[in-house]
Amino acid sequence: MSPDKDLTIDIETTRGKWEKATFSKTTKIQEVIQAVIQHFGFAPNGNYELRLERDPDHALKPERPLVSYGIKDGDTLIFTDLGAAVWL
């Protein structure tokens, strides 16, 4: 772990909290979502999003890196399952 390059954050889900998860600051939101899916065993074909706990009204865009949102060590992200697309 490199303090200059990495972030240590908590990620809250309906299946529990991933405490002190470490990612590179340049990790894209979509890659964090994939890591959460694997960590908690969410369905791989679902629709998911992440939000900053301190800014809960805005979903983080999947293509942007963590650092672009000013996310700091100790921040909490909220992971939400939007529900599978059953009627396209």
Binding site: R51, P56, D57, A59, I78, D81, G83, A84
Partner: protein, 159 residues
């Protein structure tokens, strides 16, 4: 086989306790539980256009059966009209269906005579499309996320 109403109520009470932090963070107004009619409501506001949505959840026979999720028009008090529902842009599939209903295995209204007569109520939590929406917190978070996501929320559904 019917579920003892006291059992369903106890499950709902516990699941609503699990929602308290989300309710504070997202400004949800959760009603008291109407044990006799086995109903509670949640009011939430879209931060995109400040539209209010009232979600009524009937929990008879929960969790043998999924919740009967319905929307109530905040202006007229009418239940189950299109005006009561939010609309989807469809980025993540049509969750808010024009039937109208939440088109997902977590919503009893989506089953017969709704758009998914092909789904079985028995064993609804094993439906391959259920994902993690098997509890009240997950369902409310999914609804709130969809009405507060600019790429997904299409404003109020109109008749």
């Amino acid at each position: 086989m019917a579920v003892d109403p006291r059992t369903s109520t106890a499950i709902v009470r516990k699941e609503l306790e699990d929602c308290q932090n989300d309710a504070l963070r997202n400004h949800w107004e959760i009603s008291r539980i109407d044990e006799q009619n086995q109903i509670f409501t949640v009011k939430m506001k879209s931060p995109i256009d400040n539209e209010d949505y009232i979600i009524e959840m009937k929990f008879d026979n929960y969790k043998q059966l999924p919740l009967y999720v319905e929307f109530i028009d905040p202006k007229t008090g009418e239940r189950g009209t299109k005006n009561a529902y939010p609309a989807s842009k469809g980025k993540f599939g049509v969750f808010f269906h024009g039937f109208p209903c939440i088109c997902h295995p977590c919503s009893r209204k989506a089953y017969t005579p709704g758009p998914h007569g092909d789904w079985a109520l028995t064993g609804w939590q094993q439906n391959p499309q259920i994902g993690s929406l098997t509890n009240i917190r997950a369902i409310l978070l999914a609804i709130y996320s969809r009405i507060s996501n600019e790429e997904e929320y299409g404003g109020r559904m109109h008749a």
